[in-house]
Amino acid sequence: MSDNRNNELIFNAIDAGSYKSAQALCSKQMKRYPNSSYYYALNNYILLLNGSKEEAIRNSKELMAKIPSDLSTLELLNLIFKKVGLYNESIEVYENACKKYSSLNLIQSWFDLSLKNFDILSLQKSSMALVQKGDNSTNGLKLWCSLNLLIASGLEKLTKNQKYLFPKLGLKMIEDCKPLKNSQEYYIYVSLLMKNGHFQQAADVIKEFLNQERDLELQLILLKSLNDAENWNELFDICDSFLNVHRIDDWNVWSNLIKAASNLGKLDQTLKIIDNFPIASRNRQLAYLELIKHNQQLDHLERYFESYLDIFGTKLCCFPDLKPFLLILESEKFMNILAKQISSRKIEEVLQMQRKPTDNDLILMVNYMKFKFYLHQDKLTNFEFLQENLTYYKATKYLLNVKEKTDYFAGDEFLLIGVQIIIALSKQDEISELFKCIVILEKAVERDVHEYHLRLWLVQLYSALNCYSLARLHYDSLKIKFIQQDTLSHYIFTRISSLQPSAGALKDLTKSQAVYDNSDFETSYFLQKTYEKQSFSKTNGFLEFGLRFSNSLAKYLNYYEMYKINKHNKQTNVNAILDKLRISYKLSKDSSQELQRSLDLDEKLSDNRDFKILWDCSILDSIEVVDKVIKIGPLQTCIYLRTMLSKEFLILGDEQQDNSQIYLQNIEQALKVNNNFTEVELWQLRVIRELAIFVLQNESSSLLKLESLINNFLNQFLSVDNATTLMTWRLNHNFINVYDTFKSIQSFQQVYKKQINKEANKKISDLNKKLIDKLRDNSVLIKAKRSEVTKDLKLTIKNWFLNNPKIDFEITESFIEGIFQSIKESSESSVGILRKL
């Protein structure tokens, strides 16, 4: 048999998870080629996959000490060390080989592999080796190397020595490349000057360059360098020149002008510059307010708000523009100014239906309501304010008939404020409030089909009401694709395995995850292009993007949901997903709950989810009391993922004893800070913890605790008497999690059967039987109980909409009937899953 065929057989066995068979085949090759380092490395890789981590590391270190030079061997050793978190060793493998053999081919392979892995330190080291060995007749390699030194010097994990050396080496390298030819080469140079603290020199170099050629990137670095140099005089003069000579009306310029002026005490002079700027642009109007922030002694404060509102009060940017400045003026004074605008535009006539509104009227009214809401937070629980918003909607909805289909109706904001009030006003019975919100927003989206905030809110509301198919309908209408699947898929897939563990949901998840399939390859391909095409100012962003996309928390949370659905549906072929989850488990180790934005992401998970977009309307703040009602449980963080994976790995029991203890510790740790989990998830974690302590630590009291957990809390999670549980996502979530606990206990008994004595095993089985019996008994009651609640609910909702003396919703009975019917069908389809448990 040829070696190629033998290698193929080994990898087939690895792919199939038959590690013993792979090892046997590899051993044969090792005997056949005793001097081949490759098969030794491959053998170590298989050992690692098979759980013999320590042996794999020991052998790999021994092999590394022999300094192999074969490319495939190096690649495997690099992979092994990376997988076990021995980052320095993974680099040393190449570093040592390159030092000893100094072959250009070897160094180039190291560089290419580093690009593929978005491995910044290796990029820095390999490009340094390339400079030493490669063709230096042009500056190409030196430029690459100086760029990599620049990027690497931003890493948090550098040693003190590296932090000191990298910027210095980089600067020396780029200075060797002089004369520099283009803006991208200058970008490296001035960035390295900045890294070395030579801020003024960087500014001088850029000024000279900008005399010859325009470049936005360098223009921005110029402002930053003068800021960092605290050269306020020059910063002031440059900004003045950008504004008045070059007419660059840019907020970065205005804000730097004011900052410099503030440091120089030149605020009066700056006021004149603003006054004399020939265009009454948005930036100029806001520059007055920015100036006031620095000098609150300025007279006529209100005048500047007035002059902004005169021009931009009828633009949607008005609210986000003014919101940061509201602290400098008393709320009442500001509202009076706004009220004057309302009065001068004769909005009262619109509200009295005496005339048709214009687009400008509408937007001014929207802004007015937003400011009112923002500045008087008590409006959130004020029924009259809800009425007022609905009156405004009614008075302006004529514009819905005359707008272009693809345009948005700004008046939808009145309804979005309205639904927040409705939810905030709800006390115990949030169900009817969710229904009311859906009726209102469904009517709105019927009239304004492309408004995506309405759709996103409907996705949330339907999900909260256990209506996956309806949530899906609105989600699909948003045509979310490609990168958006990473940032937005959490709106539909959060805790999906406990809500809709169906083949359909699995298919949706699989389709969504396809965005990650080629992403690493594509990003590294274009990352390489940034070197080849000298787009140096983009390289850092590509590396960060590659790492953030590759190590996305959303990606791994979705894989976890896929694993759980597969498990629920008794699919056994989950090895590929499990492998991915094992990667995420390692990455989750060092990830904090904070959004990660640094380049040190190669060992961390990155949270790229966009939670802001749902609140990118109304007052641009997430309102906690509302958020709590509409979201599907607490935020799933890295800690959530790590804990849930620890639980699953513990149940699988395919790891060493040491690992099991670590998994148990992770659960213990998470239970101490338990704000990541729903109540039933916490209960399940406690059940698994007690089982694990009983089995792994032989602690008999844990069995009693397990008994108490099952007896005391079961009724809580399987109750069918609480309408809120019965009609919302919590019903499926609780039942499916209890069922999952039942299956997990069974697996646990099976996996650890040697460690559980007969008597204890029987006791556990009896408890588990109690659990499944209760679950099945209560499942039978769900339909009738839901039917009772729905009947009352429908009456309440109809009455609220049709016989409300205070608000005329202009919603017909048949419309409400239609909504109820679709909710009934969708939620029954979700609840139907419970009957199959």
Binding site: E213, L216, R282, P320, Y452, K481, S537
Partner: protein
């Protein structure tokens, strides 16, 4: 408050308020990356500070994707996408982004192109008016441009059968280098071409 800043690959995570718009195209990731690596200074965004949950952030309010292509007198700048978030519309931001692109490409260094062009659906009257105000004029009608966007040549398109829903106007604006205005023409809307004739 608007600043124009260079687009970075990581900005792709922040475009939802712009790209959820039904008329804004969401491209595959590699497409954005290609523009960034090939034409780094022609891909930029406008951004505004916002106060969200008591934190001062910047949010992208629009972006421009451009490229340079063509040979000799066809050496030009092409606007691939220019789009604005709904919150920041009606402020002239699209014009601001177009003007910035023009300033970046018409000078001798580094690009010095003859003209800027873009494709716009023939039925998109609002956009056509905007571009005309910015000095663009119709150079030719590309028959069936939006029905052949897959990149494959559709041999069944008849150059004489026009349809505003699927045809595009190739609109051009002559730049300094085109001293004699040879890159633009009068009555361009009557000059029909097929999609394969507008590839560079």
């Amino acid at each position: 408050m608007t600043s124009i800043v260079p687009f970075q690959a990581t900005d792709l995570f922040t475009l939802n308020a712009i790209n959820l718009d039904s008329l804004t195209e969401n491209f595959q990731v590699f497409f954005y990356l290609q523009y960034l690596s090939d034409w780094p200074s022609l891909f930029f965004k406008s951004e505004s500070p916002i106060l969200f949950n008591n934190e001062l952030l910047t949010t992208p309010s629009g972006y421009m994707m451009g490229k340079n292509e063509g040979h000799s007198k066809e050496w030009h700048t092409h606007i691939t996408a220019v789009t604005i978030s709904p919150t920041y519309r009606r402020l002239g931001l699209a014009s601001h982004l177009c003007n910035h692109l023009q300033k970046s490409t018409e000078e001798e260094e580094p690009y010095y192109t003859y003209f800027i062009d873009l494709f716009v659906r023939c039925n998109n009257k609002l956009a056509i008016t905007l571009y005309e105000k910015l000095g663009y004029s119709i150079y030719r009608r590309v028959v069936g441009y939006y029905s052949s966007s897959s990149g494959n040549i559709n041999y069944e398109i008849d150059k004489n059968k026009t349809n505003d829903d699927v045809d595009a106007f190739d609109m051009r604006k002559s730049l300094k280098r085109d001293v004699n205005h040879e890159c633009v023409r009068e009555n361009g809307e009557k000059f029909n071409v097929l999609p394969e004739e507008v590839r560079f």
